[in-house]
Subunit: 195 residues, 2 copies
DNA sequence: GTCTATATGCTGATAGAC
DNA sequence: GTCTATCAGCATATAGAC
């Protein structure tokens, strides 16, 4: 509550902007969210808002970075592998379509190397792949996942699938993302009995 | 060459616009391609070009529809299943990054129900899923794919994965899309010997 | 450091003349 | 079928007030 050196006005405002921006996107959709709207929602002019961020693109990447941290926090509890995390994240995401849309749209825009979020996504994919691959290796040692699967390759495939499912779900939300991811993992499991 | 009733000027011009548009996107990237540029490339003003299409969004969807038809044609040859088609399409796509970018970016934008290409993608996903599921069923009967896998669900997962791989590849083209899809299909195959 | 005001040059789209 | 003219909206940049 009281302002300290560790939490100066600038950081608080930045944080407020990020949270408000996510709210506005969730309400109005990514396509219909301009910097001016975000600025207005937080009581600033557009130039005032962009004082806190390098660009609109960087602002959006910061929202996702914030989300990543919250998610990582939630999964630091013992006994959750990255694979379980993918399923529970998918389950949670189904309740926040605005956030899913932000992620999906920004990832696509960031395909352009000149986009402000390009590096964020490049690094995010690399780190996520390492983390998921490590979990796969663990599960293999525990005998839960077939040992003939290449952890790194399988990790990339699972991450790609999670992303692709989000796109399909946003275009036609007639299925359960978490259930489908969970189904894939069950297919990667050691078969009880090969018929 | 000679203009006939079956190939009037309007259709020819439309076709020219679609092909030129794809060229320009491939050269300049999706982000940096405006209607005005496309119009100029084909010798029209932007208003003149938009006379042929409902909107920019519809124009782009038409390019992809054209691509779908070409691809479908190429795979009508005997002995190619939808699964083989996915792999060979991925192999071909790696040579036309501009087209991959168009597909990936437009799919993301079309998540908005108000987007001009929303219905195109909704229908495309549904049709593709049906087609891939049928191929999976065939392979299962032939004993090439595990019989315990649900064709419809697996089809959705494979399509999602192909899309997600395209995003990852456009952000960091340091892997072989076709090889990864092929690898997934091999994992779905009946195991020679469960260890 | 924080912010307003203002300006530039894009964008897709439309109305109506020819 | 194609044009000109025009529009509202956009992200972004800069100068400078406080």
């Amino acid at each position: 509550m009281t302002r300290s050196k560790a939490y100066p006005k600038g950081v608080a405002k930045r944080d407020e902007i990020l949270h408000t921006a996510l709210d506005v996107i969730a309400r109005n959709g990514y396509s219909r969210t301009s910097v001016r709207q975000l600025a207005e929602a937080v009581g600033l002019t557009n130039a005032g808002l962009l004082h806190y961020f390098e660009s609109k693109e960087h602002l959006f990447a910061e929202i996702l970075r914030m989300r990543d941290e919250v998610d990582a926090e939630a999964q630091r509890s013992p006994g959750t592998s990255s694979l379980d995390a993918l399923v529970s994240t998918a389950r949670h995401n189904a309740k926040v379509p605005g956030l899913v849309q932000l992620y999906s749209r920004l990832a696509a825009e960031a395909e352009d190397p000149a986009h402000g979020a390009h590096e964020y996504f490049r690094d995010r994919y690399a780190n996520l792949r390492t983390s998921v691959a490590a979990s796969i290796r663990q599960e293999q040692e525990a005998g839960a996942i077939r040992r003939d699967a290449d952890p790194e390759r399988l990790a990339r495939l699972i991450i790609a699938m999670a992303d692709g499912l989000q796109t399909q779900w946003l275009i036609d939300p007639s299925f359960d993302m978490a259930a489908e991811i969970s189904y894939l993992i069950s297919l990667a499991a050691v078969l009880p009995d090969e018929q």
